[in-house]
Symmetry: C2
Subunit: 439 residues, 2 copies
């Protein structure tokens, strides 16, 4: 059997490796348009922030290592044609046929539609070369005032890392709240306060009208006032990298993400897809969503590889769990926000608690904010959002487990036996307190 | 209704406060033999270790505050008689009747049966005055060589705290493994290594034959060799404080812990009991066990108070979750060990993984050891044990949640959507890896 995989990111290489482990006689060919595979792209902001110096640490495995395990890889590919019905692709003017195709083309940064953006040098952070280029320029002594357009995960991670390099960072966000698609207003407000405390110049509810060059500076007109920057970075989200596939008969989600079933199959026989180029099922709403997170890639890769090798395997969806460090603080979330639940006409009950992470008599006690959202009809916990010191945030794993497993809120859950000792918790943890408010 | 509570610890005062919140017309009287109430005893080792200077921080609330909320407290009580059938107690030569009695007398340190122990000055750490006395003596310049007999939680916490005070700490343990009732051998070995790395003189599989005084030193004969110490502390476990109750008609567990049902009721009408003087139900085995942990007190207190006030409430048992910091490391556990499961003829499957806590390219990456124990018949996770850096241990909350909720191990659990970002985890966390070994 010949498996062709479009894309050498985490999903594509994950499928390749797992197919080979399942059945070493499968022929596996990965077609990658860039000049590398298996980039751990989540590390890019930390490379820019000089947390480490060797950029090759970002690669999970080398091409040679993949080749040794029998995986063929074509890098720098020019894909001319994708013909799903006739099971062939044309790459570098060569026709390649397949028995099974896996589409794992990932996502690209959305380039914001701002007047003058193309007339100035600007950066984004999606690919390996983006990381190299951005680190190279921020190392220059005359690059001090940096504008980040967008306050999503990449924007926030970059803000933290650039501040650690003593840069003067301005962040402009068109929404009035940060991460308003993932957090309700209380937590967004805490994120805002954290950024401001750490001297990020935050401009919410603001947008760039236009950019222009003035000597070696960039002038940005932000909400009708002009500001001068040494460097502009755009971080306004991701779009699935599916342009070449739009007329191949595949079914797409509204943003052109590929729609797949729980087995990773598209609507076309023998064509699978996974990772950031796909829409995925929200485990709570049973509706598709677009949530390009690294946590999905490895799981979908395994599911696809198994099904290709006739080992039945299902992807169980996402609760859009995420966590991010913000200087000495951290935020984590999963499930639905109240706003999302309201939009779906789900009746919710909310518990919002501010308490301390551990006992008052031990040093380093810090605030934890926890918001829990319960479906009032089913009594299932359908959402959780936490803000705390970075050393306290991992207790959120408990909440992700509850939401994932659709555990019902009741007296038994209120009594959950979480481990306690004075340096880590209180004997009645904030999780107990928050749950008890529902009882 | 008149509620009399024997014991002013976390359970007793918890019942008192909750009864008053439920029904302010209830008459609540707490009878305490010591001269204080609501001690947070878990903080004592940290007071000894000078983590804080004001010992009164260990009290959750003052007697005056309890009185203000209508709770009457008699401290320094001498209990002469407890007559459960006739619903009366005799305290300080005064007869007190009750409608409902709550026994919350807690536990006392077990005094090890060692020849000569009574001829030397020695310390334990259960009560407030123990903490004051121990801190007072370890502050002395000539107190350097300290022997701790026993390596349970208190022994380990003391070892850490005394080492932080630059004392030379020797710990003697009769078993060949540390915490062998709570951890399997792999994790016990890691605890041992941690203590040794931190220069605790660990003597396992050893016991003290006898003590004697020599000038202002203590000589301990440990496994037939003599050692000299400035100070001896015993920390060899707890026994329920139920001596005065033995002939009152109550049902007892093998160590004289009181047996109660899920409502907190003893076998005698209108007599409740909770906290460290009780045996509690193990949620996994459905058998009684003795597990005197602070996490139980607040939960049982609420259950008892509710049932007294005719609000039906059930205590859901324990999975004996615990966590403890050991210098820069930490350990956490819940459920059954393999040995316990074997003793109960439960067929188990084990997954033991050593991996890293977070991405290799960010500093501070550290080892995590995780052992999961699955019931092979039901596929439920019945035990988990983790050893890691202290900043990584809270991910254990996820495992306590799985064991508590009797979640089945399957492909859906393997795909649990735990939040990931480079400073906190890997996109496929050690929890995923450990679960995947079962699939």
């Amino acid at each position: 059997m010949k498996i062709v995989i479009l894309g050498g990111g985490a999903t594509g290489m994950g499928v390749a490796a797992k197919v080979k482990r399942n059945d070493k006689n499968c022929e596996v060919l990965v077609i990658e348009t860039g000049n590398y595979v298996s980039l751990g792209a989540c590390g890019l902001p930390y490379y820019v922030g000089k947390n480490f110096d060797e950029p090759n640490m970002l690669f999970a495995r080398t091409i040679e290592k993949f080749n040794e395990s029998g995986i063929e890889i074509i890098i720098n590919s020019k894909i001319k044609l994708i013909d799903l019905k006739n099971k062939k692709v044309v790459v570098n003017n060569k026709e390649i046929t397949f028995d099974k195709l896996v589409i794992a083309t990932g996502a690209d940064a959305i380039s914001p539609n701002i007047k003058g953006l193309n007339t100035i040098e600007h950066f984004k952070l999606t690919k390996f070369e983006d990381g190299l280029a951005l680190r190279n320029i921020v190392e220059k002594k005359n690059i001090n005032n940096i504008l980040i357009v967008g306050s999503g995960f990449i924007g926030l991670e970059l803000a933290e890392n650039l501040k650690d390099l003593n840069k003067n960072v301005t962040m402009v966000e068109i929404e009035k709240d940060i991460l308003s698609n993932l957090y309700d207003a209380e937590i967004s407000e805490l994120i805002k306060t954290t950024l401001e405390k750490n001297k990020i110049n935050l401009m919410l509810n603001s947008f760039v009208n236009n950019f222009y060059k003035k000597e070696n500076k960039v002038i940005a007109n932000i909400s009708d006032k002009e500001y001068e920057f040494d460097l502009v970075i755009t971080a306004t989200g991701f779009k699935p990298n599916t342009e070449l596939l739009l007329n191949t008969g595949l079914n797409f989600y509204k943003n052109n993400a590929i729609i797949v079933d729980e087995f990773g199959k598209t609507n076309i026989e023998d064509v699978y897809a996974g990772g950031d180029c796909c829409a995925i099922m929200n485990k709570i709403t049973n509706q598709f969503c677009y949530s390009p997170l690294a946590t999905v890639a490895s799981k979908q890769a395994k599911v696809i590889a198994n099904n290709i090798c006739k080992i039945e395997s299902r992807f169980n969806g996402t609760i859009q769990s995420s966590i991010i460090r913000l200087f000495d603080k951290a935020i984590a979330r999963c499930g639905l926000t109240v706003r999302e639940a309201n939009d779906l006409n789900i009746k919710t009950k909310v518990s919002y608690i501010k308490d301390k992470d551990h006992t008052h008599y031990l040093k380093g006690q810090s605030d934890v904010h926890l918001k829990l959202i319960m479906n009032e009809d089913t009594h299932e916990l359908i959402g959780a959002q936490m803000f705390s010191h970075k050393d306290s945030i991992l207790r959120f794993y408990s909440l992700a487990t509850m939401v994932w497993s659709k555990i019902k809120v009741n007296e038994a859950l209120e009594q959950i036996d979480l481990p306690y000792s004075p340096p880590f918790a209180k004997s009645f943890d904030i999780i107990h307190i928050a749950i008890s408010k529902f009882i």
